[in-house]
Subunit: 121 residues, 2 copies
Amino acid sequence: MTKQRREVYTVLMKNRDHPTANDVFRRLQREMSAISLATVYNCLDALAEHGLINQVNFDREPSRFCVNPAPHVHFRDARTGVIHDINFKEGCQITDLLELPDGAEVSELELTISGDLPAQT
Amino acid sequence: MTKQRREVYTVLMKNRDHPTANDVFRRLQREMSAISLATVYNCLDALAEHGLINQVNFDREPSRFCVNPAPHVHFRDARTGVIHDINFKEGCQITDLLELPDGAEVSELELTISGDLPAQT
DNA sequence: CTTCCGATTTAGAATTATTCTAAATCGGCC
DNA sequence: GGCCGATTTAGAATAATTCTAAATCGGAAG
């Protein structure tokens, strides 16, 4: 844990809105923290490697980063662009619903959903 | 359906191994079909827009294209790199397993899995 | 058959997220 | 204080994709 990695992590924790690497970079600059964009990428990599954060990809858009360590998936509200973490229902294995070949072992799984949420009332 | 779109589609049908745009381009060249890479991209877009093919993204790798029109997900065997189409079990809605907010409407859903398959015996 | 027109194709330039490079800096340890 | 491997850094490089503007196509209308 270097100074820079801690700063990147802190920014992610402060606002858990799935920012891109560039978002993180700009937030750190705004806080007068002189960090290089390359370092932001390095730090995000390092944090992800140690399982502290997750890299989230919607299609081919810039990667976003998520501090939620629990297994979950992502839902983007098409209207607002907000990305919501969605948990699995109690005791559910998504792979139970799939016709996986016998003996297949899942090591990584990413599920992203786009859709609409009813307007807040 | 233009000549080029048909050619792109034919190449995809001939070898359903989830090629990238560049793979498609090279296959067409090999068949002496003089097509531009930009056109391959255009055609893939047009075909995807009309629901004939699907764009498949694994992390931030180059997009791959899939001619399977049925709802399904993708599993990549980490050992061989081969991408397999995985169907849902009969009558299963993946969204039934998720704690989606009330009234959420899913319009797109992408699930990619990486893992290992037992070696063929 | 020719003309016209919008859509498509094309080559090449541009874009952009990310990675790479090589030098500078850091922090811990002797 | 001096050394060393790891990290940071600025800037260049990379690579998938998109954009641009001109050329071409193919069908409809005359």
